[in-house]
Symmetry: C2
Subunit: 333 residues, 2 copies
C-alpha cells in the first residue's frame, strides 16, 4: 500500500536482504503478492504467530542476529510443542528506517536459522513505523491430519516432563537489566554469557517435535514461565498436577545462583522466555518416550504427575510441603 511497497523503497530492501532467503519454490522469489504452501495428501498445516517488540520482548541493544533468531525461534518453539515438522514462515518487519548494516546482519542470521531448522522464508511485508522495531512472524508446520498435539489431552496419572533447563532466560534478562545477580558472575563470564544467550536466543526443541507428536498426551511451549504455562495446560485438560520442584532441571549457572541463595526455584519456575517444551505422557508410554528423546538428543526430565481435580497445579519442595508461588507469570497489560 502507499508509503511502503513502492519500487524505490521496500522492493529494493527486500531484493537486497531477503530474496536470498526465499529458497523455497513456493516463495516465488518474493516477486509475487503471495506464497504457495504445497501440502501433501493427508497432511494439515499447523499455523502459529508470535511477534517480538523492541523494548518489550527484546532489548534495544540486543544484536540484530539475536533479534532475528529470537523472532523465528519463538514461533518454531510453538511448532515443536504441537508436534509439527517445520514448513516455512512469513514475516512482517516494522522498521523506523533502513539501517543497512543492521539489516544485513539480521537477514544473514535469519537465513542461517531458516536453513538450520528447515523452515524457509515464504513471504513478508516491510512497513515503516515511528515506533519500536517489531518483528511479527507466522510460521507453518506439517502434521498428519488430526495429529496436532493439544494442550487439552493430559489425563490423571500422566507424567509431566520438560525439555532442557528452566529459568535461565529470566536470569539472563535480570543480568541484562543490571540486576544484583550479575555480581555472582564477576569471575564467571561464561556463566553470565550462557544465561544472557538463553534470553536472547532461545533453543527451540524442534528435534523433539515428531517424538512429541507420537508420544505426548498434551504439550505446550513454555514462554510465560513453567508454572503459568502448566496452569494453562491443566486448565485446558481439566486436570491438576503435583510438581516436585527439586526435580525441575536447572543449568549449571542457575544451580550456582540457587546454591548461593541469589535466586530461588520459585523464581525460575515462574520466569519466562524458556521456550522449552512442557508435555505429559501416559505412564505406560513414558519409558518409550524417554528412549525416543534420548535418540533425538534432547534432554527430557520428569518433574511431576497429573492428578484429577480442577485446582491450580501444586508445587512441592523436597519434603513434600507445598510452596505457593507468588506469581505464576508476568503480564504487561
Amino acid at each position: 500500500m502507499v508509503s511502503e511497497r513502492a519500487a524505490s523503497g521496500e522492493d529494493s530492501l527486500i531484493a537486497r536482504y531477503f530474496k536470498p532467503l526465499a529458497t523455497d519454490a513456493g516463495a516465488f522469489g518474493l516477486d509475487d503478492d503471495a506464497a504457495a504452501l504445497q501440502v501433501r495428501s493427508g497432511e494439515e498445516i499447523v499455523v502459529t504467530t508470535d511477534a517480538i517488540v523492541e523494548g518489550v520482548h527484546f532489548l534495544k541493544d540486543d544484536p540484530p542476529d539475536t533479534v532475528a533468531r529470537k523472532a523465528l525461534r519463538v514461533n518454531l518453539s510453538d511448532l515443536a510443542a504441537k508436534g509439527a515438522a517445520t514448513a516455512g514462515f512469513v514475516m512482517t518487519l516494522a522498521l523506523r528506517g533502513v539501517d543497512d548494516s543492521w539489516l544485513a546482519a539480521f537477514a544473514r542470521a535469519l537465513g542461517e536459522d531458516a536453513r538450520a531448522f528447515g523452515c524457509p522464508l515464504l513471504g513478508g511485508d516491510t512497513v515503516s513505523t515511528p515506533g519500536p522495531l517489531t518483528v511479527s512472524i507466522t510460521a507453518f508446520g506439517r502434521v498428519p491430519a488430526g495429529k496436532m498435539v493439544h494442550r487439552s489431552g493430559a489425563r490423571p496419572g500422566d507424567r509431566v516432563l520438560v525439555t532442557g533447563t528452566i529459568g535461565d532466560a529470566a536470569l539472563g534478562l535480570e543480568i541484562l537489566k543490571g540486576g544484583r545477580i550479575g555480581h555472582a558472575f564477576v569471575d564467571d563470564h561464561p556463566g553470565r554469557d550462557a544465561l544472557v544467550a538463553r534470553y536472547r536466543v532461545p533453543e527451540p526443541r524442534n528435534a523433539l517435535a515428531l517424538v512429541v507428536r507420537d508420544y505426548a498426551s498434551a504439550a505446550i511451549d513454555i514462554s510465560d514461565g513453567l508454572a503459568g504455562d502448566l496452569t494453562k495446560l491443566c486448565a485446558a485438560s481439566g486436570v491438576s498436577a503435583l510438581i516436585d520442584l527439586p526435580s525441575v532441571p536447572t543449568s549449571a549457572p542457575a544451580a550456582k545462583l540457587l546454591s548461593q541463595g541469589a535466586t530461588t526455584i520459585e523464581t525460575l519456575a515462574s520466569g519466562g522466555d524458556d521456550y522449552e517444551i512442557l508435555c505429559t505422557v501416559a505412564e505406560a508410554r513414558s519409558e518409550a518416550l524417554a528412549a525416543a528423546a534420548q535418540r533425538a538428543g534432547v534432554a527430557l526430565t520428569s518433574i511431576g504427575t497429573v492428578i484429577a481435580g480442577f485446582q491450580a497445579p501444586r508445587f512441592l519442595d523436597g519434603e513434600g510441603s507445598e510452596i505457593v508461588l507468588k506469581r505464576l507469570s508476568y503480564s504487561h497489560f
Copy 2:
C-alpha cells in the same frame, strides 16, 4: 512470552474480544498455541501477509471498525488477485494499552468481515508496544495445486483490465489530511464521504477471485497505485503495456474533481490504496471473462493492451499522446 501472554492480561483480552470470532474448528477456540488449517486433497494454500500501522497506513482518528476492516481487507485483496478462495487468517495486534470500547468495536467489525468474506480468525497474538497501534495479518486462501495466478503470466496481445474505480482512496486520504480538494465537496457530503470511505475501508474483489483464477493470465492487487503496480506486473512478466488513460474507470466524485480541474487522471493513476484487481487476459478469452465478471457482479474495465518490450508501461491521453507520470507510486523509505 513474558510480558504479554499471561493469564491475567492477554488471555482475558483474547477471551473477551476475539474468542467469539474463532468459529472455525481449526482455531480450537484460541485455546491452544497454534491453529490447524485443514487442506483438501489436490489443494495448496496461498499465504499473504500485510500490516497496517497507525499514522502510516491509517490515521489516528480513523474509527476502530474501519481499522479492523482495512487490516483484514488489504490481505483479502491479495487473495482475490491470486485467484484464491478465502480460508482464514491469523492476526498480531500490537497495542499501547487496553481500551475496551475501542477493542469491542474493532473485534465486532473484524468478526462481521470475517463472516462476510468467509475468512475465519484462526489464531493470533496480542503484544504490548509503546509505539503506534499495528495490526499485522497473515491470510490464507485455497487454490487447486499450481493454480495461483501470478504477476508473471502476461503476454503481448493480452488485454489489461481493472476492477472498480481508480484513485478514490488517494483522494479520500487527501481530504482527510485537509487538502484543497475537500473544498469541492462543501455542498456534497455524500461525495466526500464516499471518497473517505474508499480510503478507510477498501472493497476487496473476492467475488471475482475464482473468475481471475480461471481466466487471467496475470494479476496483482493495486495497493501502491495503478501505474506502479502495472509496472511491477509488466516487469515480472517481461512485457510492456499501452494504457489508454481516458479508459481508466473513475467514480462520480473523482470524475467531478477531474471535470473541475481539481485533480488529474495522472494523480488518480499513481495514487495508492485502491485495492482493486489489475489483471491481464488473452484476447480470445476476454469476452468470456467479461461475462463471468458480470455474473460475479464486479465491474471490470479494459484499459489497455500488453505489448512486447522491456520498457515501463506507457500512458496515452485521448489523442494517443504519451503522458509521462511524474511518479509511479509513493515510497516511505
